[in-house]
Structure formats: C-alpha cells, structure tokens
C-alpha cells in the first residue's frame, strides 16, 4: 500500500462564537497518489475538516495527522507540502496580475528570479493559461480565476493538493476542464488530491475514493461505484445523485438487471439492447 499522507478521526473545533464542530463517524485516511472527494451538503463540515487537516484550525480532540506529523504543531513543515484552493477565490488571489500572483509562493520561498520565472512558465503552460500571464485578475472570469488559483497552488509542485468546493459556480464544461487538470497533476506528479464538493457527478467521475459527510460526521466511505449503489443513503445525506444514476438505480429497483452507472453511453446501450 502507498504511503499514508493524511489521517483524521474524531477531530473537533470550537469556533469563536462557541459553536463546536465535531468531525465524528468514520475515519479519513488518504494515501499517496489517491484522488479523494469529500461529499456533503452545505454545512456538513467539509470546510472545517479541510482546515483541521491542514492545521489552519486547532483540533480540540481526536487525531489529526498530515505527512506523519501533527499539522498544528508542525505547521511550518507541512505547509510547504500543501497546495490549497479555497472556496472564496477572490480572497485567495492577492496580487493584481496573474504573473505576480502565481509567482507569489516561489518568491516567498526565496527561489531565484530565474527559477520563479521557470516555474511560472511551466505551470501556466500545463494549465493552458499562458495567454493570461499579464492580465489583471479582477477582469478574469470565474473559471479563469479558479485556474489561476490552481496555478498558484501547484507552482511549487506540492505532493498534496486540497480544494474546497472547486466546482462551485462553474459551468459543466469548466468543471470537466478543472477535473481533467487535477487528473493531469495526479498522473504527472503523483499528486494526492483531496477535494470537497456537493457535485456528485463530477466527483464520481474524478475520485477513486469518496467520503460522504452529513451534520459533521463522515457517514460513508468507499469507491464511487460502491457508494452509488447506496443511493438511498446518499439521499438521506441530502446529496442529489445525477439523473442518469438515479434512473439506472430505479430501473434496478424495479427488477431490471442494470448496474447503476454514471456512463450515459453504457446505460443507453443497455436500454437499446433491452428493447
């Protein structure tokens, strides 16, 4: 089995207004090179889980581990190995131009100007946004801003990439493009990817392991195929399964011998054969 990158069980955090968020239920265990999707409706604790995992929030119990270390106590050590894209992109993009923003982390880590430029050019080409280099960030579209934030997170080629609701506000094409980029990093650098989302469809296509959260608890985990066979439990967690999945699931429930799938072609082929 590949090396364990992250582990979280029973962590909790008390916010300034005394709200306590407990991440209970099952444990989260992530291994090198995995593509993890944390699914759950709004307010289910996904963002808190991410902040606890990265050491940005202090856990008042349980066990949190990142790269074999307590992320809170060893924050300076673990932060160099994480690339992160937050839900609020506007707040994350802090420099006025794309070039300055993407070069921000390499400069902070005191790389030479030559290497900063080299890394900048490489990541821009990889993500396919080299035409945006000198643009003012505020004038970019939502999808472009997400790509710039991704470039800023990946420019140091960290072994772990974490994204909080990356597909929110994107059209289906942009979602697919973003998911393809994450796959590319995973293939190219063996980057471990953890993303939180309530987009079951894109997560199902992208992830090789999914965790379902509801009311602060991790209630289910497994491969997408396994979880998609438990569509009633997904509904209980307030997750809206993709139409094609629900259709194949309902057909199966009504006695049709079809495996629930996200693949339209596969489902179509089966239905044509049946008729």
């Amino acid at each position: 089995m590949a090396k364990r990158i992250a582990y979280l069980k029973g962590a909790s955090h008390i916010f300034a207004d005394n709200t306590r968020v407990n991440i209970g239920g099952l444990e989260l265990e992530v291994h090198k090179g995995q593509k993890i999707a944390i699914l759950g409706p709004n307010g289910s604790g996904k963002t808190t889980l991410i902040l606890l995992l990265t050491g940005l929030l202090k856990s008042s119990g349980g066990h949190v581990e990142l790269f074999g270390l307590d992320p809170r106590k060893n924050f300076d050590e673990v932060k160099k190995r994480i690339g992160i894209v937050f839900q609020n992109i506007e707040a994350q993009l802090i420099a006025p131009t794309v070039k300055e923003d993407v070069s921000f982390a390499p400069r902070n880590y005191r790389l030479s100007e030559e290497e900063v430029l080299q890394r900048f050019e490489k990541i821009m080409v990889l993500i396919g946004i080299e035409n945006l280099a000198d643009k003012i960030i505020h004038y970019l579209s939502g999808g472009e801003k997400k790509k710039v934030a991704l470039a800023g997170a990946m420019v140091m080629e960290p072994p772990l990439l974490i994204l909080d609701e990356p597909f929110e506000g994107l059209d289906p094409k942009a979602r697919q493009e973003l998911a393809s980029l994450l796959e590319l990093f995973n293939d190219l650098y063996d980057t471990t990817v953890i993303l939180s989302t309530h987009d079951v469809e894109t997560a199902g296509r992208f992830a090789d392991q999914m965790y379902i959260m509801a009311e602060g608890n991790i209630i289910m985990k497994g491969k997408p195929k396994e979880l998609f066979n438990k569509i009633d439990e997904l509904k209980k967690a307030n997750l809206h399964a993709p139409g094609i999945l629900e259709l194949t699931y309902e057909l199966r429930k009504r006695g049709v011998n079809i495996t629930p799938t996200l693949d339209v072609e596969k489902a179509l082929g089966f239905l044509i054969n049946q008729t």
């Binding site: 937050f86 609020n88 506007e90 400069r107 100007e113 003012i136």
Partner: protein, 236 residues
C-alpha cells in the same frame, strides 16, 4: 471596481512615472506630503495641485476619472474647514487644499506603481505589523466597498429603503455596515490563511529588478526634494 481600475492603470499603461522605481516614488510621496504639511500658503498648495494634475496627465492617467476619487478628501476637508471658520481667513482654504493635494499625490503613486512592489518598499521603512496590516487592508478595503454596495442594492430590492423614511434608513445603514464588517472579517480570514499557506511570513518578496533605480528616479528624487525645500524656505 476601483481596485481593478487602479491595477489596470498601474500595469497596463506606460510612462516615465510608471517606469520609475517604487523606491523613488515612495520617497517622493514622503517628501511631497511633508511639503504639504509644512506649507501654509494656499498659492503654493494650489500650484502643487496643478503640478500633480500635470504629472498625472504626463503619466497617461485619466485625469478626470481619477479626480472623482478626490471628492472623498474634498468632502471631509470641507467639513473640517467649515468647523474651523473664523480662526483665520485663509485657514479653511489651506486645509482643503492640503487634503486634496495629499490625496492627489497618493493617487499619482498608486496609479503608476505595481502595488506589490509598493508594499515591498513600505516594508523596508515600516514595522512588519503595520505594513502587513496595510497590505491586507488595501486589498480588503475595496472588497468591503463592493460588498457594501451589493448589500445596499439587495436591501433596496427587498424594499428596505425609502427616501422618506430617514430613521428606517439609518437602521438599515447600521445593519448593512454590520453585515459588511462580518463579511470583511471572513474574507480577511481566508486571505490570511491563503497567505500563510503560500509561504508569506510578513514580508513581501518582489523581484530585485523592480526596485532597481534608473535615471528617471533621480528626476523624481530631485522633484521631491525641491518641493520640500520650497516649503521649508518659505516660498511655499
């Protein structure tokens, strides 16, 4: 969005003032503001006002649009001047000119300098905590203004504003401000987290070439010194 507009002016335009190093522009700003504070002569301050307008124009900046931003200091300067009417005949005019001319000098520098470089220079002379706060505040300030405008629009669309209900409007203003402050706090929290995770340790690192001095910079240094000397010797 003003911040995007200022970014556009600083990055997309070109002039001798744009090409000058942020070091000389910050020094110029300090000298110019010192001259403005020292001077008590309205004629000198009026001359500075015209000079800065001229410099804006020579820097290819849209003078009229930028002048709209000067309405803020003009308004507050006017309120302050009115409160001091009667002290001396020229005092209100000098106060007004000081407020507007100082703001004009700041605008000239902001609209011609990459602000990351600008804050990198400020961090050399200011304590980290102050420059750090200024850096985050500068970004957040315009975001808060946007948030404020959106909240007001939403409130109006939901019937919460009427021209004739003054007390209700005041109550609404309080709520809008509260909402925007909470939003600003949350935004700052995310910005701070992003900064930390991207290796920021209270010091902005910029490329050394951005801070290198050229012959333009000596002209700017000279101009700043000249303005201060004129104010000190009493011409201004």
């Amino acid at each position: 969005m003003w911040i995007a507009f200022l970014d556009h002016l600083a990055y997309d335009l070109d002039s001798f003032w744009h090409r000058a190093s942020p070091v000389s522009k910050v020094v110029f700003l300090i000298l110019a503001i010192s001259a403005i504070i020292i001077s008590t002569k309205s004629l000198y301050l009026a001359a500075l006002f015209v000079l800065f307008l001229l410099l804006m124009s020579l820097s290819n900046l849209p003078v009229f649009t930028l002048s709209l931003l000067l309405l803020y200091p003009l308004f507050f300067g006017l309120v302050f001047s009115l409160s001091r009417v009667g002290e001396a005949a020229t005092f209100p005019l000098v106060t007004l000119l000081r407020a507007v001319t100082a703001a004009e000098a700041v605008l000239l520098v902001l609209a011609t300098t990459h602000y990351v470089d600008l804050f990198a220079v400020l961090q050399i002379v200011l304590p980290y905590t102050i420059s750090d706060t200024m850096f985050i505040t500068y970004r957040s300030f315009f975001m808060i203004l946007d948030s404020l405008r959106n909240t007001v629009n939403i409130a109006r669309l939901r019937g919460a504003y009427s021209f004739f209900t003054i007390f209700r409007n005041l109550r609404l203003a309080g709520r809008v401000l509260g909402h925007s402050l909470i939003h600003a706090y949350q935004t700052n929290e995310t910005t701070q987290r992003a900064l930390i995770l991207r290796g920021y340790e209270g010091r902005i690192i910029t490329s050394r070439s951005a801070l290198r001095l050229s012959h333009y910079d000596f002209v700017i240094f000279f101009l700043g010194i000249l303005l201060l000397v004129l104010a000190v010797v009493g011409v201004g």
